[in-house]
Symmetry: C2
Subunit: 533 residues, 2 copies
C-alpha cells in the first residue's frame, strides 16, 4: 500500500495556515467565554473512558482539519491493515496483532492458538493462587522492557482486586542491586519465578535467572524442584528445558514486546488478580479495539488524541507531555507510556527510510498527582515552556476513604483549572501579600505570584479502576500511538535504535576484564581505565 | 546586592557568537580525533564523584566563556551569601541554609540548634532500630513533596546498609489508593508512623495521618499507645500534641522542603541505616559543600555542570535532560531531581519580577539503566530531538554478583559511546541485514538502522554507593541547580507556582459535595457534574 505522509497532504498546508491565523493565538479563557457549549463540543465518550478535550489549544475548526488530515493519510485503511494481520511492521517483516490477543474466540486471526495458551495460562495461574495447595506466597517476574513494564504497571493498578496472600516482585535490571534485595526477603519453598523472555536469550533476564536459580539451590532447593518453582513465558522450549523449566507459555512474532501484556507475558497479572479479572482486562481492551475499528474518525477517541499529539508536536512544537494519574495505583503508568510511545514513535525516518523533516515522539513523563503538585508542577504553572498535561481520574475509588477521594478529585480539577485560568499580576496585587523581604516592592512580589495561564490539558475519567477499565485505558494509548505514528509515516513497531548499544556492550564486556583499549574513543577508554583501577 | 543576569553580560554575547561560529556545529567524533587529551581536559574530580564531561557539545573555549559568564554574574559572591545565611530567598524573606544541616559542630550558622536536634533524632532512631526492645518492624513515613521524596529516594539507594528487620514505607498521595495497600499489610504493635509536615497542616499529610490514626485505633491500639507509635517531624508542637504525638523533631524556616532530607525529615533514613551511616551521608554532602565553596570556578564540578545546563538550555535550546542511573537503588533519583530542579528553577521572572526572555529549568526525567535501554532509549538514539543524557555508575557494587555488575557497566559505557558514535548508513548497509519484508530495499532497511550520533552525555562515577558518596552526589545536584538559577537571575528557593492550584482545590472541595457550579468554567463544571453523577 502507498500512504501519504502527513506533511504531503492538503490538510497539512491548511493546518499550517490555520495555526498562523488563529491557532497559535487561541486563548482558552476567551474560547470558553465565546462558546458556552465548548465542553460538550470537545469531549468524547469511549468504552470505559470519558475524555475532556476542551481545555486543549484547539477548536472545532482545528479538529475538522486534523480529522481531514487523518483521512488524507488513509488512517482507516492502515488501521484495517493492522487489524487484519497485514505485515505492517515492514522492517521486521511481521504482522502486528496484539488486538488478536484480546479478541473473543473466533473473531480474530490466530484465535485457536491465542485461546489455547490463554486457557492453559489462566488455569496455571489459578493453581498458583490456590496457595493452600501451591504453597506459593511470592512470585518474582524476571524480564525486562516489554516483559516487565506491562505487568509491573498493571499489578499495583489492580491491587484492590489482587490475591491478598501473594506478593508480586519484578526484577528487570541487569544491575545486581535489583535482584539482591528481592531475594534477601524470600524463601525458596514459597517462591515462584517467571522467566519472561521470548527467545530465552535476553542478556539481562538470563543473567538474573541464573542468579535466581543459584540462589534457589544455595538455599536448599534441589535441581528436581526447579521445575516446580520456575516457569517460562517463552517460545524457546529447548533453552528453558536446559534451565530445568518444563512449564512454558508461548507467544508469537506478531506480539511486540511493548504490546505483550495481553499474552503469556501477562502471567504475573493473572496470578495477582485471577482468571476472571484477567479476562475482564482483555475485554476492556477489546471494547476499545472495537471503538477504534468502528467509530467515525471525528468521534474516535484514540484517533482524536493522536491528532492532538500531532498538532502539539508539529505546530505548537511542544517537546514533551506530562502524564498525571490521580490514582496512586497508576504510579508506573508514565514509565509504561515512555516505552509505549517513545520506543514506538521515537524515529527519524519514514517507512521508506527517508529522513523526516518534523518532530516525532515527544518526551512523556510524570508522577502521580497529588505528588507531582508538590514537586515539578511549579514548572508546569510558572516555567518558561508550555507542557500539555494529561490528568487521569476515577469517579469511584476502590478504598473506603471517601474524604480522601474527594480531596484527590478536587486537586485534580483544580490543577487543570489553574493551568488554564492563571492569575494576573493585578489579581496577585490585590491579594494579601505573603511574607517577603522588606526591600521587595509589592509589585515585584505580585509578579512572582503571577501565572500566565492558557496552559493546555486533557482530563480522562474512568468510573472505577477496574480490570476492564484499565484494559480499555491501555488499549486507548496503544491506538493513539498508532495514530500519530501512522500520520508521521513511521514504523511504530520496530526498535532498531536499541541495537547499536547492545552490540557495543558486547564489545566492551570482555574489555572490562582484559583492559584492552584498542580503538576506543578517548572518553570510553578513560572511563574504562578508571572503572578497572 | 545587585547582580547581573546572564543575558546582561559581555560573556553572554561572546557565547552567542561562539555558538554561531562553531559551538552549534561541534562534532564530538572530530573533537576527540583533534584532541587526544580531550577526556583529561574535560573531566573533573570532586569529593566522591568523578565526572566525564568530554562527551558534551563543548570545548575548552566554551568552558572558558561559560566560566567567565559565572564570574560576571558574581556567582561566587552569591554562593557566599547563601552559605553565610543572607536572606537570599527574598520573596519569602528567608535564608537558605541546608548546608548548615551538614556542617560539623561549630562551623556554620545555627550549629547548636542543628546538632541538638540531630543528636536527639539519631538517638531516637537507634532506639527504634533496637527492634528486640522497640518491637518495631515497619516504619511508615507520611509526608509529601520535600517531606517524602528525599527519604523515599535515599532509603532504597542505601539498602545494602539498612537494618534487615525493619521495612520502610512511604505514603504521600492524598489519593487513598496510596495508604490503603500499605496499611493492609501492617500490624499496629510493630509499626511506627512518622508524620512529616513542618506546619502539621499539609492537606495530604494530615488526611493520611488521620486515616493511619483511625486504623491504629480500629486495629485495637488504644489512645495512650499513640504516643509510642506516632512521632512528628514538625515544628507545630501544639497540633502534634492534640493528635497524641509527644515525640517531635523540629527544623527551621531556612530549611526548604526540597533541601530537607538532611534535617529531621531524614528520620526515616536514620532509622533505616542508623546514626553512623546518617552522619556519613551528612559528611559526604559537607565535603561537596566545601568543594563548591572553595574550588576555583573552572574546577568546580557543580558550577561546571550548572554552566553546561545553561549552555544546553539557552544556546542549544534543549528542552529536557534524561538521567540514567546504572544502579537500581537510585530508581527514585529522577523523581527526586524533578523536584529539586524543576521546582527550584521552573520560573519565568527574575528576582526583580521581570519576565525572562530565555528558557529556565528543562524537564528532567529518566529511569534506571539498563531498564531504560529496553524502553525509551530508542528515542534517545533515533528520535528527532537531541536530549543530553546523564549516566551515573558505580565502580564497586554492594552485592556479590561481579558478572552482573560487569554487564551493567558495559551497558552504561556502551550507551554513551553509541549516542556519540552513531552508525552511518554505509556501515549499516555493510552489515548482515535483518529479517525484513521482501519488498523493502537494502538501502531502506539500512536507513532504519542508521544512527545520527553526536548526541551528548555526561558520565558521573562513584566508587561505591556508600552513604558518604550519596550525600556528595545529592549536594552536587543542589549546588548545580543553585548555579544555573543564579545565572538565570531567579529565586530558586520559593515555589509560588504551587499556590494557585492549592487555593482552587480549596474552592472545589465543597463544590464536589454541594454540586454548586456557579462561576466555574465550562470544562471544570462539566467534569464536576460527571464526577457527581
Amino acid at each position: 500500500m502507498d500512504f501519504k505522509r502527513c506533511d504531503q497532504t492538503v490538510a497539512w498546508t491548511a493546518l499550517a495556515g490555520h495555526f498562523e491565523g488563529h491557532g497559535r493565538g487561541l486563548d482558552l479563557r476567551e474560547a470558553f467565554a465565546r462558546d458556552p457549549q465548548r465542553f460538550e463540543h470537545l469531549s468524547l465518550q469511549a468504552p470505559e473512558v470519558f475524555a475532556d478535550l476542551s481545555k486543549n489549544l484547539w477548536d472545532g475548526a482545528t479538529r475538522r482539519l486534523l480529522t481531514e488530515l487523518a483521512r488524507e493519510c488513509q488512517l482507516e485503511a492502515r488501521r484495517d491493515a493492522m487489524l487484519a494481520g497485514a505485515p505492517i511492521n515492514t522492517t521486521e517483516g511481521r504482522a502486528v496483532l496484539h488486538t488478536a490477543l484480546r479478541a473473543p474466540r473466533g473473531t480474530a486471526p490466530f484465535s485457536d492458538e491465542v485461546h489455547g495458551v490463554l486457557d492453559r495460562m489462566l488455569a496455571f495461574a489459578e493453581g498458583v493462587r490456590d496457595s493452600a495447595t501451591s504453597g506459593i506466597r511470592h512470585v518474582v517476574n524476571i524480564g525486562i522492557g516489554g516483559s516487565d513494564l506491562g505487568p509491573q504497571m498493571v499489578v499495583p493498578a489492580l491491587d484492590a482486586f489482587a490475591h491478598p496472600g501473594i506478593t508480586l516482585h519484578f526484577v528487570s535490571n541487569v544491575d545486581g542491586h535489583d535482584i539482591t534485595p528481592v531475594l534477601r526477603r524470600l524463601k525458596p519453598a514459597e517462591t515462584l519465578f517467571i522467566i519472561a523472555s521470548k527467545t530465552f536469550t535476553t542478556q539481562e533476564t538470563m543473567a538474573n535467572a541464573a542468579v535466581a536459580r543459584q540462589w534457589f539451590l544455595d538455599q536448599g532447593g534441589d535441581e528436581a524442584a526447579i521445575a516446580q518453582h520456575f516457569v517460562g513465558a517463552t517460545t524457546n522450549l529447548k533453552a528453558a528445558a536446559d534451565f530445568g523449566i518444563h512449564t512454558t507459555f508461548g507467544f508469537w512474532d506478531w506480539v511486540g514486546g511493548r504490546y505483550s501484556l495481553w499474552s503469556a507475558i501477562g502471567l504475573p497479572i493473572a496470578i495477582a488478580v485471577g482468571a476472571d479479572h484477567f479476562r475482564a482486562l482483555l475485554d476492556g481492551a477489546h471494547a476499545m479495539d472495537r471503538h477504534f475499528a468502528t467509530a467515525p474518525l471525528a468521534e474516535n477517541l484514540p484517533v482524536q488524541l493522536g491528532l492532538l499529539d500531532v498538532w502539539y508536536r508539529n505546530f505548537h512544537r511542544f517537546s514533551s507531555r506530562s502524564v498525571a494519574p490521580y490514582h496512586q495505583g497508576l504510579k508506573r503508568l508514565p514509565a509504561y507510556l515512555q516505552q509505549l510511545e517513545m520506543e514506538s514513535n521515537g524515529k527519524q525516518v519514514d517507512l521508506d527510510g527517508t529522513p523526516l523533516p518534523f518532530g516525532t515522539s515527544p518526551v512523556v513523563w510524570g508522577e502521580p498527582g497529588t505528588n507531582g503538585q508538590h514537586a515539578y508542577f511549579q514548572m508546569l504553572h510558572q516555567g518558561t515552556d508550555v507542557i500539555p498535561v494529561e490528568f487521569i481520574a476515577v469517579q469511584h475509588p476502590t478504598h473506603p476513604h471517601a474524604d480522601l477521594h474527594a480531596k484527590a478529585l478536587a486537586n485534580c480539577l483544580a490543577q487543570s483549572q489553574a493551568l488554564m485560568l492563571g492569575k494576573t499580576t493585578e489579581t496577585a496585587l490585590a491579594e494579601k501579600a505573603p511574607t517577603a523581604s522588606a526591600a521587595l516592592g509589592k509589585l515585584t512580589v505580585a509578579r512572582h505570584r503571577t501565572f500566565p495561564g492558557n496552559r493546555p490539558s486533557t482530563t480522562l475519567l474512568l468510573e472505577t479502576l477496574t480490570p476492564r477499565a484499565l484494559g480499555a485505558l491501555i488499549a486507548l494509548y496503544e491506538h493513539r500511538v498508532f495514530t500519530s505514528g501512522a500520520l508521521w509515516g513511521i514504523n511504530s513497531f520496530d526498535q532498531w535504535g536499541v541495537e547499536l548499544g547492545k552490540a557495543l556492550a558486547g564489545d566492551l564486556l570482555p574489555r572490562l576484564a582484559s583492559g584492552d583499549l584498542e580503538g576506543l574513543d578517548g572518553s570510553t577508554a578513560g572511563l574504562l581505565k578508571r572503572l578497572r583501577a
